[in-house]
């Protein structure tokens, strides 16, 4: 939907199915908090929603400059939605830089709320604008609402004990109040949040609450808008209890859940890295769940400490992003050789090297599948949405302990920082995979195999089972060092075979749409929402196109060859230069895979996918 250029004056409360708002301001303007509060309130109100925070890597880039712009996009809807929306219906720009960076995304005729108090000459200069966009005609075609928020906040907080600088820091809550009025949202959740957040400084509680109310009241008093809008509750969401969840939070909870369903205690060794650090922070707060966290001296020590903990019978896990993944690879190779369970979370970001730390990408796929010395295979699971990250973390734990292997869980920046409503599962409905440690010394051999080809897991401290493991090649069964040629080839094949055996425990993904035809859109990871949105739209328009999504990206599940054979082309959109396509072409050489790469640090838009599908069909 888009808000019509002139909302009817008579119709004071217009209903919409879905609205996309983007809050944009300086890194210090509190846009992430504003966005999160709007999200939380909309979630409690009962909307389906999806969010996309987009912020710079610098903590505080020079104030007022374009690199310092921080944005938060939220889409809230009365119907099921899959993405935070392509283009915002409403853009809130707190300064000229935020306007300049974001305006091109705003829908034609969209609502633009501008803080004119921040449009002085020096502000324009910081944003490298020669002319004032408020007066040069560049905003024609949008519904511009100009408010001097700086002044209004100062007026509203007249007499406050806060300094003028501190008063100005309440601007974001004034803005939030205004948006609450416009979209008919209750103030209570944010009032309560402020009271809790600043409990130790009552002056801040009062000032921010006052600013929020002032913003809300301004909507009523000042006739800024011609009407209010409403996005009713989403009635099609499945029944249940929900909470809003971010991807990194879901991974942290999923690891705790996975360890518990294995009957193990979690050890999490990690080194801070954007955008994965919140997983460490979150788990450090879960100590009462028996979780042990260690902030290691580097990425290598992080994975090695986790492997050490697995060696003595905990579930070792670690999380990182691309550059850290590169450093961990030798350690992961050892875990493959000594066949111990381990979960490595890779929250992908733009690369190569330091790349774009706060932006999203899917270009670690080949690194995690193939990036170690020699034949060092491991299973890879890729989560698709923030709430799916919970299930995928549990799944990664399952595979790790059942197959005695390291497992990589791929997430990305888009999932990590994005959020969505999560229908809370009951613990007993989660998969259960209790571990049995070997304790019987009779006929014990450290490298004997069970039906899954997994070797026994022995806790040091167990009498009579003393044994040594290491990175040197091991003799089949005994685990003794062996340089024998035949044995080496046998062991290399056995380890690979064990990883491929994971396929016996995973389902063939479902095809959504026609079971055969011209185009199948195949996705993996965080492209799910966009692809789903695009395909549903096309199907509504009568286009015969199907989609399928991969959760297990290595080994690939059974049944794909047969499915691929039923379509003329298989379109694979991914945020890299076609890494999954390379894997697919080598595994299934007889099908027509069409790569659709995008590497801009930004997720695909729905219209990009629909257009690519249509152009493929025209050929």
């Amino acid at each position: 939907m888009s808000i019509p250029p002139q909302a009817g004056v008579e119709d004071r409360l217009q209903k919409f199915e879905s609205v996309v708002i983007r809050f944009a301001g300086d890194s210090g303007d509190g846009m992430q908090i504003t966005g999160n509060q709007f999200t939380q309130t909309s979630a409690l109100f009962g909307n389906d929603l999806a969010t996309f925070p987009d912020f710079p890597a610098e903590i505080r880039a020079p104030a007022g400059t374009r690199p310092g712009v921080s944005g938060f996009q939220i889409r809230f809807a009365s119907t099921d939605i899959h993405t935070p929306g392509d283009a915002p219906d409403v853009l809130v720009a707190m300064n000229p830089a935020a306007l300049a960076v974001n305006l091109h995304d705003l829908k034609p005729g969209g609502v633009l709320i501008v803080n004119t108090g921040q449009f002085k000459e020096q502000d324009l200069a910081k944003a490298r604008l020669d002319k004032n966009p408020l007066t040069d005609g560049s905003l024609d075609g949008y519904r511009v609402i100009q408010i001097d928020i700086n002044k209004r906040v100062a007026d509203a907080l007249l007499g406050s004990p806060l300094s003028p600088k501190e008063v100005q820091r309440c601007k974001n809550f004034y803005t939030l109040g205004l948006m609450y009025w416009l979209y008919n949202r209750p103030l209570d959740p944010t009032l309560a949040w402020l009271a809790d957040k600043f409990a130790k400084t009552p002056d801040l509680v009062e000032a921010n609450q006052k600013a929020l109310r002032a913003g809300y009241n301004a909507g009523d008093i000042h006739e800024l808008f011609q009407g209010r809008y409403e996005v009713p509750k989403c009635e099609t969401m499945p029944k249940g209890t929900y909470r809003n969840i971010m991807g990194n939070q879901a991974v942290a909870m999923g690891l705790v859940a996975g360890a518990e369903r294995a009957g193990l205690k979690l050890f999490f060794g990690s080194y801070p890295i954007t955008p994965a650090s919140p997983i460490l922070e979150q788990l450090a707060a879960y100590k009462n769940h028996g979780v042990m966290t260690m902030q290691a001296e580097d990425e290598i020590a992080a994975v090695c400490s986790a492997i050490g903990s697995s060696f003595v019978g905990r579930l070792g896990a670690t999380a990182t992003s691309g550059p850290g993944m590169a450093l961990k690879q030798e350690g992961i190779g050892l875990a493959i050789a000594i066949e111990l369970p381990l979960v490595i979370v890779d929250v992908q970001r733009g690369g190569p090297s330091t790349g774009l730390p706060t932006k999203t990408e899917q270009a670690d796929l080949l690194q995690v599948i193939f990036g170690r010395n020699s034949e060092a295979w491991l299973p890879v699971v890729a989560c698709a949405t923030p709430s799916d990250a919970f299930d995928c973390a549990v799944e990664a734990c399952r595979i790790a302990v059942q197959y005695m292997t390291p497992v990589v869980l791929l997430s990305d920046g888009y999932i990590a920082n994005g959020s969505e409503p999560w229908k809370l599962p009951e613990v007993e409905d989660l998969p259960s995979f209790p571990v049995t440690f070997r304790s019987d010394p009779k006929d014990f051999q450290p490298y004997s195999r069970d039906e899954r080809l997994a070797r026994p897991w022995v806790k040091p401290g167990t009498p009579g089972l003393e044994h040594r493991v290491g990175g040197l090649e091991k003799e089949h069964l005994t685990g003794n060092i062996s340089y024998d040629a035949e044995n080496h080839e046998f062991m290399v094949k056995l380890r690979a075979q064990k990883v491929m055996a994971v396929r016996e425990s995973i389902p063939t993904p479902k095809v959504h749409g026609p079971a055969k035809g011209e185009v199948l859109v195949l996705g993996w990871g965080s492209t799910l929402g966009t692809i789903t949105g695009a395909i549903e739209q096309l199907q509504k328009e009568g286009v015969k196109v199907a989609r399928m999504h991969l959760r297990h990206v290595w080994p690939l599940p059974h049944g794909l060859d047969d499915i691929f054979g039923r379509y003329t082309s298989i379109l694979v959109p991914e945020m890299n230069l076609g890494q999954m396509v390379r894997v697919l072409r080598s595994e299934y050489p007889h099908h027509n895979f069409v790569s659709y790469p995008k590497v801009q640090g930004q997720p695909f838009r729905v219209d990009e996918i629909t257009q690519r599908v249509l152009s493929l069909m025209e050929k």
């Binding site: 009462n288 042990m292 020590a301 050490g308 010394p441 401290g461 003393e466």
Partner: protein, 344 residues
Amino acid sequence: MAHETTTAPMTTPGPAPVTKKDFKSDQEVRWCPGCGDYAILNMVQTVMAGLGIPRHDIVFVSGIGCSSRFPYYMNTYGLHSIHGRAPAFATGIKSANPKLSVWLATGDGDGLSIGGNHLAHILRRNVDVKILLFNNQIYGLTKGQYSPTSPVGQKTKSSPMGTIDRPFNPLAFALGCNATFVARTIDTHQKHMQGVLEAAAQHKGASFVEIYQNCNIFNDGAFDDIAARDVRDDRTVDLRPGKPLVYGKNSDKGIKIDAMETKVVSAAEATVWNASTKSGAPAYVLAEMDLEKPEKPVPIGIFRSVEEPTYDQEINRQVAAAIAKRGPGKLRDLIWSGETWEVS
């Protein structure tokens, strides 16, 4: 298949072993004949037998290099890991199960070159792990390149004109990391090694023991000037806490620490050694005596021994404290936390 190793039947549980023999694994020891590592292995097995810790509660961890083959020869649990990272594995092991007695075998290359970072951090964290650094001042397993402890000017395969790198003093390194137990011994000095290893084993916290070890293939006789039986007494001074710093064949010479300098004095004037001073500075001053050989003796023995909370204790204490304060976490409560709403 032809295998180099033999497979003996697995042992069954029984009473805690008491003899050195119980700590010998079924693996054939494959160091070069005449290597100083044999003497270290022999003494570690001897000391182990006297500790009263059951074999199944002991873990030996190592990295890569000649010294890092050590775990294969100990009939305990063992992890032969990757180059330089043994301290990180050991930290995970000891934290996850503090009941285990964890030992780490490393070398000058593994511990101070590729793994310098991890060695620094296991020491400053004070993880209760016994670290044995075999220092032979050479890379043995890669066949004779210089190491971070090779003296300046040493000619090796990778330094045909002599090394230009200034070497590490492992003791000074450990003291700089605020290690709580720092000692040095010599492979050929079995009795001395026994005393040092026993003290290291008794210490609660990270124990760092540098062992001068002769590589008879690539750096033969590197320590002969101080360690050979006939010169040892005159060329080394043994640091024994509570005892004066006396040395010499006739125990007639002493070392006095005065204004952050060491002086050779008569035995009567020798400083009574205190390894537990608040500051590690006196230990550091002694460690630096290496630079003044042959005028001054090379110090061996116990440089530092202080009690500090251990990382493994603390990490477990925090978990226990969180459980005591908030009750054992229930998974459902965790999932169902935060602000929730109903869709009906």
